[in-house]
Each structure stands twice: as structure tokens, then as C-alpha cells.
């Protein structure tokens, strides 16, 4: 709880600091936020009261277990990397730079609450806090039409999904009279045949499906990813999606495990279609952010493999994969953010000649694409391997899992094409319009190196991270 309060206080302080900071020193606020969050992250590992596993609080609404702590660290790292990016991006924001930082921090606080949510009211308010902050973050470049368009699209579809979510919660509460996940789990078995209850759970899944951009609720993702300011897109791809996943895990495996057990086929189908849809639609894309938008849909599908497996190994693989995804996506978006500084669009051609303009950026982007595609020795490979393994383990019980594994493999193969399209654009494109070297500030270099280190560390020495993930996923093994 201390962590959340600190983060919220940081958000307020950032906003107040805007009063006294001279216009040319606004960057300082961003770095201060990074430092503060890094401090909190450090404390969370130090375990001095910040992230101790102290059970539940507020009548069981707020839970501080291994999963919560795992995700809190995850969100903190994501926010730090995004803030680095936001500082680089600040010259492209017309006004309210400090507010941009502080809104990122507020979105982070929502994610932290989501990580600890153990009650449908908490689930709803934390998801709303995240989503509403993202409406603003998405339309932040209000001078650009695409940014506003993205904001409006996200707002309308997000509101629709929220209405499904709250309707589902109302139905679940109406039939069972329980909002707390643990209490619900205790009585869920007797409502298994209650159709209204099942519709309620289904609606909740619809709401969460929107957040993670799973098929058939993925329609917003490409437009919003393309239009939003790049740091927002990165945070959306990592933070918002992960928040959706932690809530999904909690609902499926803590609140209604008995129902989930019957819904393996549904999850398999959704996961498979999401993978195929994302990968196939990404093929013709020429816009970098849009391409990553579709790729993020595909990755939501991969992550859903871990959910569909309905096993602890699947859940821990999901967590591990998310960790790798964090560093990879942040790396990719940081590069996009830096490369397109003086450009209007985020076309693939912007990358032309990047290896000569800035070898570090070219290398980072290449590594990110390789990791996303799932090639050893980077994080993406091992994550995909674990996910597939967990799915295949279940194959004996349900042959659908074999189909799913095959679909996922097919998706990976398709994805090679467009990921290598990005790499080709960097190294082998003909005419580079702009060959001026890109100068990198010190802090952003740090961010890039963190991402690279993260990708390699997770890929080469998976045991430590996997232990953390398994430990976190053990909350569901009872």
C-alpha cells in the first residue's frame, strides 16, 4: 500500500512542481520521476515494508501476494522506461509536459492497484483509472489530428468495454452477492450452472479482453497505437496490456476457477484467432507503430496461450513472457521515438540507413525485432518456448491444445516476414533520405542499455526470472 501512496504522491508532486520549474528545465521533472520510481523499485527489492508479502488489506480488497509484487515491479520498470522515452518526446508535445509525466505516473498507480485488486470494485476502479488516463495520454498531441482521432476511438470503444465490464460485475454480484474474489471462489461452484452468472463472467472477460486487445475486441489497437504519442503507445502496449492480464489471471484463476475449467475451448479459440489475426494483418503494414500494434495483438494471443493452458506452468510462462515483452517493446518504441523526432509519420522508410546514423539504435531495433520474432538467444524465444511447452503439456487431455500449438507456431513463422522487413529497412534499404547522425542523450542511452540487457538476461539466464515467475504464479496453485 505504501508503494501506491508514494506513486500517487509523486504524480501530484510532479504536477505541482510545474508551478516553479522554468520552462527550459521541465526535463528535470521527468528525470526526477524516473529517479523516484527507480528508488521505489529498489526499495521493493530491498523489502523494507514497501512490498512485503503482508496478505490482504481493506476487507480483502487489496492483496499483496507474490503475483502482485511481481506485477508491481514489472509496472515500475515499464513506467521508468516509458518516462525516459517521454523526456525525449517532450519537445513534440505542445504544452503540459509535466502533466504528461504525471499522468504516466497516475496510470502507473492504477496499474499498481490492478496488480493488487482482489475484488470486483477494485478491479473496476483500477481499470478505469488506467483507461481514463490513457484516453488523455493518447490524445495528448492535440495539434495532430491522428492523435485526437486515436483518443476518440479509444474513448468510445473503451467506454463500451467498460460498460460490458460493469454489467458483467453487476450480474455476478446479482446472482452470487459476492464481490471479493476469494469469497466468490468459495461459492462459485454452486453457481456453475447458473446461466446469468456465466453471462456475467463472460461479460467481465469481454471487458478485460478489450484491455489486452484479444480477438474479437482488438479492433481499436492498430489505430490507437498508430495515433497515440510514442511513449503512450509503449505504455499502452506494455502496462495496460499487463494490467489486463493480471486482472484476467485473478478473475479466471482466483475468482471463478471452476468456471474457467470448463472454458478451455473458448480460451483456445480466442488465443488461436488472436495470434493469426495479429500476424496476418501485420504483414502488409508499412507504418511502424501500426505494425507494432498488430504485432501486439499477436502477442496478446501468445500470452493467452499461457492462460488457455490452465496450468501453473502456463501462468508462469505467461509472466516470464510478459517480462521479456516489456524490455523488447520498450526498446522498439524508444528507437521509433528517437528516429522519428523530426518526421511527421512513422513510416518504415524512416529507419533507412539507421545503421549508419546510429549503430546503437540500429542494434537495439534489430535485437527487439529478433526477440519479438522469437529467435534465440533473446527473451522472446525462451518465453515462446515455455508457453508452447505448457500448452503441449495439456495436449493429452484435450487435442485442441495441439491445434493451438500448431497455430502459434504458424503465427511465429508468419511473423518472421514482417519483423525481418523492419530489419531489412534498417540495413538494406536503398535510398536513405537523411543520413545525419542521431545524437543520443546520456539518459536515453541508459534506457536503451537497460532494454538490451533485459532482453539478453532473460534469454540467456532464464532461471532466475523463471523462478520469480513461478513463485508469482504459485498463488493460483492451491
Amino acid at each position: 500500500m505504501t508503494l501506491e501512496v508514494c506513486v500517487m504522491a509523486l504524480g501530484v508532486v510532479l504536477m505541482l512542481a510545474d508551478f516553479w520549474l522554468p520552462a527550459d528545465r521541465k526535463k528535470f521533472a521527468g528525470y526526477a520521476a524516473v529517479a523516484a520510481l527507480a528508488g521505489l523499485l529498489f526499495l521493493s527489492f530491498g523489502g523494507c515494508g514497501c512490498c512485503s508479502l503482508s496478505g490482504t488489506a481493506f476487507n480483502g480488497m487489496f492483496v499483496e501476494d507474490g503475483l502482485a509484487v511481481f506485477f508491481k515491479r514489472f509496472f515500475l520498470i515499464a513506467a521508468i522506461l516509458v518516462l525516459f522515452m517521454a523526456v525525449e518526446f517532450s519537445d513534440r508535445i505542445a504544452g503540459g509536459v509535466s502533466e504528461y509525466y504525471s499522468l504516466i505516473v497516475f496510470a502507473l498507480s492504477g496499474m499498481l492497484f490492478a496488480a493488487s485488486a482482489n475484488d470486483f470494485t477494485m478491479l473496476f476502479v483500477s481499470i478505469e483509472l488506467i483507461t481514463i488516463t490513457f484516453y488523455i495520454l493518447t490524445s495528448f498531441q492535440r495539434g495532430r489530428l491522428v492523435s485526437l482521432e486515436a483518443g476518440v476511438k479509444y474513448l468510445i470503444l473503451g467506454a463500451l468495454s467498460s460498460s460490458f465490464l460493469v454489467f458483467g460485475i453487476a450480474l455476478v454480484w446479482g446472482t452470487t452477492g459476492k464481490l471479493n474474489f476469494n469469497e466468490l471462489a468459495a461459492v462459485a461452484a454452486q453457481f456453475e450452472s447458473n446461466k446469468i452468472f456465466l453471462i456475467g463472467v463472460l461479460f467481465i472477460l469481454v471487458g478485460l479482453g478489450f484491455k489486452i486487445a484479444a480477438f474479437p475486441f482488438q479492433i481499436w489497437a492498430p489505430d490507437v497505437y498508430q495515433g497515440a504519442p510514442t511513449p503512450t503507445t509503449a505504455f499502452l502496449a506494455v502496462g495496460s496490456k499487463a494490467a489486463g492480464f493480471v486482472l484476467l489471471l485473478r478473475v479466471l484463476f482466483t475468482a471463478v476457477p471452476t468456471v474457467t475449467a470448463h472454458w478451455a475451448n473458448l480460451l483456445i479459440v480466442i488465443s488461436g484467432i488472436t495470434i493469426l489475426y495479429g500476424n496476418l494483418c501485420a504483414l502488409p503494414q508499412r507504418n511502424l507503430k501500426r505494425l507494432l500494434g498488430y504485432s501486439s495483438i499477436a502477442h496478446a494471443g501468445y500470452l493467452l496461450l499461457g492462460v488457455a493452458a490452465l496450468s501453473t506452468s502456463g501462468q508462469s510462462a505467461l509472466l516470464y513472457y510478459l517480462a521479456g515483452y516489456l524490455f523488447t517493446v520498450c526498446a522498439a518504441f524508444t528507437v521509433i521515438c528517437l528516429v522519428t523526432r523530426h518526421l511527421d509519420n512513422d513510416d518504415l522508410s524512416a529507419l533507412a540507413g539507421l545503421n549508419r546514423r546510429s549503430p546503437l539504435l540500429a542494434a537495439t531495433m534489430t535485437l527487439a525485432m529478433v526477440s519479438l520474432a522469437g529467435i534465440p538467444p533473446l527473451a522472446g524465444f525462451f518465453g515462446k518456448f515455455l508457453l508452447l511447452k505448457s500448452v503441449l503439456e495439456q495436449g493429452a487431455a484435450n487435442p485442441g491444445y495441439y491445434c493451438l500449438a500448431f497455430t502459434a507456431l504458424a503465427g511465429v513463422v508468419i511473423s518472421f516476414y514482417y519483423y525481418f522487413g523492419v530489419i531489412r529497412a534498417i540495413y538494406w534499404s536503398k535510398a536513405a533520405a537523411d543520413v545525419s547522425p542521431i545524437s543520443l542523450s546520456g539518459p536515453i542511452k541508459v534506457a536503451l542499455w537497460i532494454c538490451i540487457a533485459g532482453m539478453f538476461w532473460l534469454g540467456l539466464f532464464p532461471s532466475k526470472a523463471l523462478n520469480l515467475a513461478t513463485e508469482a504464479a504459485s498463488v493460483f496453485a492451491k
Binding site: 504536477m15 481493506f58 480488497m61 487489496f62 475484488d119 476502479v125 483500477s126 483509472l129 488523455i136 446461466k195
Partner: protein, 178 residues
């Protein structure tokens, strides 16, 4: 003297009122989006006001007086007035001319039909508790205790949410940002 009492048993009145208010809410709701007589956005907004007020009636039937009052004050009295404000200032003429595309209509009907079908099927299959006991009557003191006791954490998170929303509105609508 007793004729009315015999005609309508005490317990049936709330049930009847429920159907009246629910019907009104639905009817007004349909008129908001698909009014066959007028495509004027102001008319739609006014029907939304009526829908909101009928919904307040439903809250009253549940003895949630506080919620009913807040529903009217906040939604009918403030939010919808601002909606009207915006609609009037924009003076949306295009909306009245806009043709409804067949494909969209079909998709909309299909999705609504699916959800409705799901519900009807579910309701047929489920026996709901006929008279569930209300957990909280509409007493404001009790509601306050719940909000600041059991539900204090979500309540406070919502306050952060409102702060964020306020910041966002100012950022997105302020004339010139420094």
C-alpha cells in the same frame, strides 16, 4: 373503500411500478438512438434525460433514495445540461441528414440480438430468487459508512481518477498551453 386495496395487493404495486419504470427507461432509451420521428440531436438528448429520470424511479423502487436523487442531480441536472449545451452550440446539422448505413444497422441489430438472445436463454434456464433481501436500504448514513468503511479504497482510487480526468479536460480543452 377497500376496493382499491383488493384490486391491487400491497406487494404488487412495486412490481407494477417496476415494469412501468423499466418500460419507460427502455422506451426512452430506444428513442434516444432510434427516434423514428426526429433525427434532432437535442431531441435525443432530451429523451436521454427522461431515460435517466425513469431510471431514478427504478432506484426509488429499490429504496435507494440517495442514489435516485444523485442520479437526477448529477446526470439529468448537470451532465445532460452540458451535453445539450454542446449539442446546441455545435448545431449539428449533418447528423440530421446522415443516412443510416444498412451494414452498420445489420451489425448492430445482430450484436444486440445475440446479447438479448443470450439473456433470454439464460433467464429461462435460471430460477432467480424472487425476493432477495436488500443488503443496503437507501439510508444515507449507512451508505456513507459503507463508502468510508468497507469500500474506502475504491472510493479513494476514484478520487484519483477524478483528478486525472480534471487534468485531462483542462489539458485537452484549454485554449493555449504554455
Amino acid at each position: 373503500m377497500d376496493s382499491l386495496q383488493n384490486l391491487i395487493p400491497e406487494t404488487m404495486l412495486p412490481d407494477m411500478m417496476f415494469y412501468v419504470f423499466a418500460g419507460l427507461t427502455l422506451g426512452f432509451g430506444i428513442l434516444v438512438v432510434a427516434n423514428p420521428f426526429s433525427r434532432n440531436p437535442v431531441t435525443s438528448a432530451m429523451f436521454l434525460v427522461l431515460a435517466v429520470i425513469s431510471m431514478a424511479g427504478l432506484f426509488v423502487l429499490l429504496h435507494a433514495f440517495f442514489l435516485a436523487a444523485v442520479q437526477v442531480i448529477v446526470y439529468a441536472g448537470a451532465v445532460m445540461v452540458l451535453f445539450l449545451f454542446v449539442i446546441m452550440l455545435l448545431d449539428i446539422k449533418d447528423e440530421q441528414k446522415r443516412k443510416i448505413k444498412k451494414g452498420f444497422l445489420l451489425a448492430g441489430l445482430l450484436s444486440v440480438g445475440t446479447i438479448a438472445g443470450l439473456f433470454i436463454k439464460g433467464l429461462h434456464a435460471t430460477r432467480l430468487d424472487a425476493h432477495p433481501s436488500p443488503t443496503t436500504e437507501g439510508d444515507t448514513a449507512l451508505l456513507g459508512k459503507l463508502l468510508f468503511g468497507q469500500y474506502v479504497l475504491p472510493f479513494e482510487v476514484v478520487s484519483v481518477l477524478l483528478l486525472v480526468a480534471m487534468v485531462g479536460v483542462i489539458l485537452l480543452s484549454k485554449k493555449d498551453l504554455k
